[in-house]
Each structure stands twice: as structure tokens, then as C-alpha cells.
Symmetry: C2
Subunit: 156 residues, 2 copies
């Protein structure tokens, strides 16, 4: 338990953050955390990395990708863990994202309401089928959402 200079092992971090060890290794691989190594090549984290990782999880919940988060963290001087001030700055970014999401979901809902009566599904003038800005589940992977879709409708 007594670790020199108050450094934490990956297991400690896992316990503290509730993440799997493999996930933390993955974060390191992606450059989100930068633990040092002891002479046996084992990762040694700072206490502040717990906060850093918590920040990562929160950002993920808000819909940011690993890459997004990496960029955000990169804006911090010296690659340090976010402070109160940083946090305030990030918060407003998050806030905007949430607002945008809520707004487009609301829009979608309104369109849906308008559609209940018509039951048209006739593509040409259905507001839901031809949305201006899409949100919903901006899923991962090559999952084209309608508006982005290019007309790749020809076969081999």
C-alpha cells in the first residue's frame, strides 16, 4: 500500500475511477493520460490523474469522442489535469453541445407531432424524413445518417 512519492498503480486508478484496467491502458494508448513508469516498467499515476480520468468520463457522457477529448486536454498548458478555471471553460463548451442536442431533439419531436395526423411517410414533404439537422444517435462507425449520405446508390 505504501507507494513512494504517493504514486498510484493502474489497479488503484481502476478502483478509484470504477473503470477497467484495460480501459485505462487504452486511454494511455490514445494519449489521454500519460503515466510514468517505475523501474519495473509498471505504470505509476499521479493522484490528479483520477480527476483527469473522471473528466474524460464526464466528457464522454456528454457525447465527446476520445479524439475530441484529446484535443480538449491538449489545450491545457503543460498537459496538466483540468483545474477549476479550465473546468469552467470546458463547461460552457459542453453546455452548448447539450443545448444543441436538446434543441434538435425538440425539433424532431415537434415534427413527429405534426406527422401523427398525416401518417404520410411520403418522403417528399415529411419534415422528419427530410430533416435539416440530424442528431438522434450520432452513432459510431460507418453509419451514415441521412443528410450526410452521398448518393452511392449504384452497384458494383
Amino acid at each position: 500500500m505504501l507507494r513512494p512519492t504517493d504514486l498510484l498503480s493502474i489497479g488503484d486508478i481502476a478502483t478509484r475511477t470504477g473503470l477497467a484496467v484495460s480501459a485505462i491502458r487504452y486511454y494511455e494508448e490514445q494519449g489521454l493520460v500519460l503515466p510514468e513508469r517505475n523501474r519495473g516498467n509498471q505504470r505509476r499515476f499521479l493522484r490528479s490523474d483520477i480527476r483527469r480520468i473522471s473528466f474524460i468520463r464526464i466528457a464522454q457522457q456528454l457525447g465527446l469522442t476520445i479524439a475530441d477529448i484529446k484535443d480538449l486536454l491538449a489545450t491545457l498548458p503543460n498537459g496538466r489535469t483540468p483545474t477549476k478555471k479550465d473546468w469552467a471553460r470546458f463547461s460552457s463548451i459542453f453546455h452548448e453541445r447539450l443545448d444543441a442536442k436538446i434543441e434538435s431533439l425538440t425539433l424532431l419531436k415537434e415534427n413527429l407531432d405534426g406527422c401523427i395526423g398525416c401518417g404520410c411517410l411520403s418522403l417528399s414533404h415529411c419534415a422528419i424524413y427530410n430533416p435539416q439537422d440530424t442528431v438522434a444517435e450520432t452513432g459510431h462507425g460507418p453509419r451514415n445518417i441521412l443528410p450526410t449520405m452521398e448518393t452511392t446508390q449504384k452497384d458494383a
Copy 2:
């Protein structure tokens, strides 16, 4: 162009729906559409399948998975394409989903607002870090979202 009994080829459907041919084949594979075959083994769709596929796309936009949609379509008598009445029924389901999503995003936003001042990130009492109900990006794949996460934090 003149097709017997007014049946459509997969290419026609692709053009009409704006989807890729491969996507439509995939939908068939997943049991979302059930085209017949001509004697040359080529798919022949009904005109109503355009509506059916439009429905699928709309449901996807609202965040339903292929499996969800399959289940929904399965509730239709005779596996037919949704009618006005069906559409009204589905609409209310969609409506609920949207409401739930909007609500939890709003909650998240409120928590975030409350957090801007504190800048704690101290896990123990941060409302965002310990959310009751998570939404955000309920991503695909083995991406555990915080509350669901089991304590698999031990290594090999």
C-alpha cells in the same frame, strides 16, 4: 422500365429511398424487408416497401436499433408495411423516447450548470459523475456507460 405487376428492382428502391443498394440488402438480411424474387433470383419489391424503408430510416433517426425496428414491424399484422393507424401508434412510442431523452439531457445540463461553480470533479458528490440515468451517446459495441458498469477492474 416496364416491370410486370409493378414490382421494383433493388436499384429502383435505392434510388427512391436514397439508400445504398448494399444497405437495402442488409435490411433484408436482418428481416426488415421481405422482397420476393423473380425467376432469375433478383429481388422484386412492392411499391409499399418504399414506405416501409422510409419508416425504418425514420425510426433509426429516432434512435432505434435495427433489432428494435424489427420488433416494432413484427407487431404489424401479416408483416405488412405500416398504415396510418400503425403510424399513429408508433408515433406515441417515439414520442416517449424523445421525451425521455430530452429530459435526461436537460437534467445533465442542469447538473453541469451546478457544477460550473464548484469545479470539484471529486466523484463523491458530483451529480454529473454519478448520474442516476444516463443517456448521452448510448453507443454501440462493448462501451460500458458508467452506471451499467460492473466492477470488472481486476486484471488477468
